[in-house]
């Protein structure tokens, strides 16, 4: 069984992550997911790929802390957070947040809260690569 919180270079399977989430409790009545993907266009430029750099050990620690906070704050039954590092081509998956609760409302609220907090608190940086050059991104759209 893969860890519920991970950084990894390879792509992830949404189906496998949801199966792992559902296997954690038969009481789960609502599951929410967010999958962030690499866009092929940003700020007027065509983007071919995104390069991610991370402070791995601190990032995983903070991701686990976020998961624990979300489980407590929204009374989740389980949550999973997976983010890729290295090169991600346009169109590929970058990040998965999956939350499971007894009912839909806390699952949806927790999923939204987690991705917002993730962007603020987890030390990962993205660089967009295009034909015009490369640029580090510092905004949080």
């Amino acid at each position: 069984m893969l860890d519920s919180v991970r950084l990894q270079a390879e792509d992830f399977s949404v189906d496998a992550e949801l199966a792992a989430l559902r296997a954690s409790s038969l009481r789960m009545g609502g599951i929410a997911t967010f999958v962030g993907c690499a866009r092929d266009f940003s700020e007027g430029r065509e983007v071919s790929e995104i390069s991610f750099d991370a402070y791995d050990s601190m990032a995983v620690t903070e991701m686990n802390r976020l998961r624990d906070e979300a489980v407590s704050k929204f009374k989740l039954l389980d949550a999973r957070i997976v983010h890729r590092t290295g090169i991600v081509s346009a169109g590929e998956q970058i990040v998965l947040i999956a939350t499971g609760a007894e009912h839909r409302a806390p699952a949806l609220q927790a999923c939204s809260w987690l991705i917002d907090e993730f962007k603020q608190r987890v030390p990962i940086w993205k660089k967009e690569v295009s034909a015009q050059g490369e640029s580090w991104i510092t905004s949080h759209p």
Partner: protein
């Protein structure tokens, strides 16, 4: 020694991911920041967060210990 780490956009200014400074008794976080800022002023214009031993801190008066790990970081952009 104090181990100093750089990531993402910081690396482009500092041109290395890691360096070491000799630990001196009474050393504070601001001492490390000021030393590096003098050498890499452009890099420190984009510093938005600082971590000591993988915990974020805004306390630049924080006393450091030998073998501490310090990271000066630009604004995060994962997700």
């Amino acid at each position: 020694m104090i181990r100093i780490l750089f990531f993402g956009p910081m690396v482009e200014h500092v041109l290395q991911r890691e360096m070491q400074l000799e630990f001196q008794f009474g050393m504070r976080l601001k001492d490390v920041a000021e030393t590096l800022q003098a050498s890499y002023p452009e890099a420190f214009k984009i510093v938005c967060a600082t971590a000591v031993n993988q915990v974020q801190t805004r306390d630049m008066e924080l006393a450091l210990a030998d073998n501490d790990e310090v990271a000066f970081m630009a604004k995060f952009s994962g997700g």
